[in-house]
Every structure is written in C-alpha cells, then in structure tokens.
Subunit: 258 residues, 2 copies
C-alpha cells in the first residue's frame, strides 16, 4: 500500500463537505436527506451526490431509511463505545509497531511537542475555549503521529474511517455543552487531561527506547481510560464532554458556533 492521500477520488471531497456539515449539525438528527435537496445545497447534480452518499453510508454516518432516502444516523452511546474501543485497540498496535520501527526517531519530536503543549494548557490551569482547542489539537497530533509513524497504512486508514461516527456524536452533543459547563465539569476535565498526558509521557518514553511491550500496554491503558469514561454515560444521565471525544476521535479542531 503505497501513497494514497492526495490523489483520492474527487468526490471524496464532496463527501467530506457533507460529512463536515452533518457533524456540524447543519441537518437535524435523524433527518431525511433527499438527493434533490442536497443538489440544491451543494450545487452539483445528483450523480456526485449519490457517490458521496454511498461513501458516507459505509462510514455509518448516514443510514438507509425504511423506504427511500437516507437518514442521518443517531448514534447511541454504545455505538460510540464500540467505535472508540476498536480505534483504541488499533492504536495500541500502532504504538507497538512504532516502538519497533527503525525510523521512529524522526517522529518523536512531534509527540514531544504535543505533550509539552498539553502541559502548557495544564499549567495555565483554566480550560477556556482557546485552551481546550489547543489541547485538542495537541492530542490529535500525538495520536495521529503514532498512527502514521507505525508504518502500517491500514491502521491509520481504518482508524480514520472509524473516527467519523464519534465525530458525529460529538457534533450532536456540542449544543448541550453550555448546560453542563460547570466548575465541577471543568475540574474533572482537567483531571482527565492531566491523567491522559501522563500516559502520553509514558508512551512516548517507551516508544523512544524501543520498548514495544510497554508502549502497547500503556496505549492500551490510555484507551481503556477513554472507554471507561464513555461507559459512565450509559448509566448516568450526564452529557459527554465534547472536547475529549473530538480530540480522541482525531478530527481536525473545528470551531463551534455554540
């Protein structure tokens, strides 16, 4: 599997635009998407729209409705849990492979800088929108660096694919954010961020010294932390912290209107 990115399908771009809009909440949750309407919105004909819809269907972002048309998928907490579980498991493989890779040294600086950036946010102590975005971006860099540096293209490709659904969930949850933005939440978010970055540090050191077993084990623990966190939402009627989910999903840091 040589280089793919950059000469992907053209209509992948359209799919990306639609996906982005879905995630950003342009359409209603569970809304029916008719091809004609999408044609109006994106100002293209039905052919490229249909190509894009098939791709989005494979990503589980949209579903086929009963009769005709697609509807936007409404992921359950369990859906997110499953997706994150798979992604985390693959990341532990990536950590092991990168620790065994001989060319890993050149990617280490990116990881180190990501850890530093998160530490800077932690030192500042408060988690405003800017700081949150900063931490998200750094977290994404940390994880995606491992995914690409592991040398197995299937890992990064699959992880990217599987991140779309958590992104959709994060997008639909962002509007509830303000209601749950209490001091208590902020404290807990900071705690999670601190714990997560400590794990980052251990993973970094393990990969640096080529300790594949420790790298994989620690990444697994890091992933379990996230899975356990999401699992709490199956019981409590709490609102998911979007920042974590988005950061974990490895998506680009996007600006939310809310």
């Amino acid at each position: 599997m040589r280089e793919h990115r950059g000469m992907e399908s053209i209509d992948t771009e359209l799919a990306a635009r639609i996906r982005q809009d879905i995630i950003m909440g342009v359409f209603e949750e569970g809304e029916r998407l008719s091809e004609a309407r999408l044609c109006d919105i994106y100002e293209v004909s039905r052919t490229p729209i249909r190509l894009a819809l098939r791709l989005l269907e494979r990503e589980r972002i949209i579903r086929r409705g009963e009769g005709r048309g697609y509807i936007i998928y409404s992921p359950t907490v369990d859906d997110i849990l499953q997706a994150v579980q798979v992604r985390g498991h693959l990341e532990s493989l990536a950590a092991r492979l990168m620790a065994q890779s001989e060319t890993r040294a050149q990617s280490l600086p990116h990881m180190a800088r990501a850890i530093e950036n998160i530490n800077a946010v932690l030192d500042a102590g408060n988690l405003g929108d800017a700081a949150r975005r900063e931490a998200q971006a750094a977290n994404k860099i940390f994880h995606s660096t491992i995914l690409t540096a592991c040398g197995n293209d299937y890992v990064s490709f699959t992880c990217e694919q599987i991140s779309h659904l958590p992104m959709l969930a994060a997008g639909s949850m962002v509007f509830d954010r303000s209601t749950s933005e209490t001091q208590d939440h902020m404290e807990r978010a900071l705690f999670r961020l601190r714990l997560g970055n400590a794990q980052h540090q251990v993973i970094f050191e393990a990969i640096e010294k080529g300790d594949a077993v420790r790298a994989e084990g620690m990444m697994r623990e890091h992933s379990h932390t996230m899975v356990d966190y999401i699992r709490t939402f199956e019981r409590k009627d709490d609102s998911l912290t979007v920042a974590d989910l988005i950061a974990y999903s490895g998506a680009e840091p996007v600006t939310f209107s809310g």
Copy 2:
C-alpha cells in the same frame, strides 16, 4: 449500530460481483479497468459501475491510475502482511470481548464443530483439494463466529473490509500453486494446520470459561503465527500457500479452476 446486513446498498451487490471476478483472476494483474468495458461485461450502465468502483477503491482492491481509469492493485507481500496484522489484532480484541460476553454460550457450538471438522481433516492425514476446502471452510467459521459473537459490530465490519486485499493476493497466487505442490509443502501445511487447530482449541476453552485475558493472548499468538509465516515470504522466494491465506482471510470457500 443496529442491524445493517440485508438492507445494504443495491450496488454493493455489483461491487461484490466485480470484486469476486477480480479476485478470481478474470482481469489481468495491474490491468486498466475502463468504465465502458465494465458496462459491457456486467450489462449495466456507467452509473452503477462508477458507484461500485468507488467502493472497491476504498477496499484497496483497485487504485486510481496516473491519468484516468482504475487499475487492479498488485499487492506486495508487505501489503498482505499489514492487512493480516491488523485483522489479527482486531481478532484478539474480538476474542476478549466474546469471552466477556454473556451470550457467548450460544455461539460456542459452531466453534466446537469447526475444530472437530479440522481435526477430521487432520486425522485423514492427506490434504487434497476437498480436504483443503473443508479445512478452509471450518477455519472461516471458527474465526467469523468469534467476530460476530463479540458484540462489537465495528470489529466484524472492519475485519471483513480488510480481508479483501489478502483475498486478492490469494487469488493472484493460486495459479502458482501447482508449481509448489510438493510433498514437502503438504507436510508443512499439515503441520501448520495442526498447530493452528491446537490454538483454536485453547482459544475455545478460554472463551468458554470466560477467561478474557487468555482468550485474547492466545488469539494474538494465533495471529502472530500467521504473520510470521507470511513474513518468511519476504525473504525466501517461496510461493505462498493459498489455502491458509484464504482461510485466514475469512472469505467464502471458492472453487478454483486451476
């Protein structure tokens, strides 16, 4: 993620037909696929053909050529290695999840029967075409049972997706099979099958008694056996044993003309 299979996209069917033909070697390795030609062959218009091609592109079975058109991907040994590595890693997750699942009991009989069937082949002692197919089918059942019984739909879906490339490789290698069909090869194939089924037995028992750690660990070892085996082909100029690869890829047992 509720039930998907059964109401998939219609043109997924066309994609499956084309994929099957590609794997079966109907087209030349690295051949250019023009849409018009595919229209003639499958007697449909360009629209569904294009939809199918996009899906196959995502499966890495075909690639976009430099200028126009798609070409059939020629996977390297390293490609196969990577795909099998990811699949194996996900299977170890599946084994763990199934061991933790409360409804696992109802799927255990399928696994037990698969192990028995492979043992029957081993007892017979020779590995003719029929016996090989029998072992393949049983192996597929063993693995796919775990994938579906694990309860995480992403695992099975992703594994299925990622199996297409090894299938393509297996298909293109099937023609070399006769040249490498020596007594020595048969001996080794039998040895691998015996080893593999012993691992199956351990995995089965671990899942049965709910020992998630052991189930995952043994599945991991089972997967590493396969990865190590494939890795030998990077050094030696040997020809891959198709039966193992196909069985491991979890594909339907197909009949080869060769």
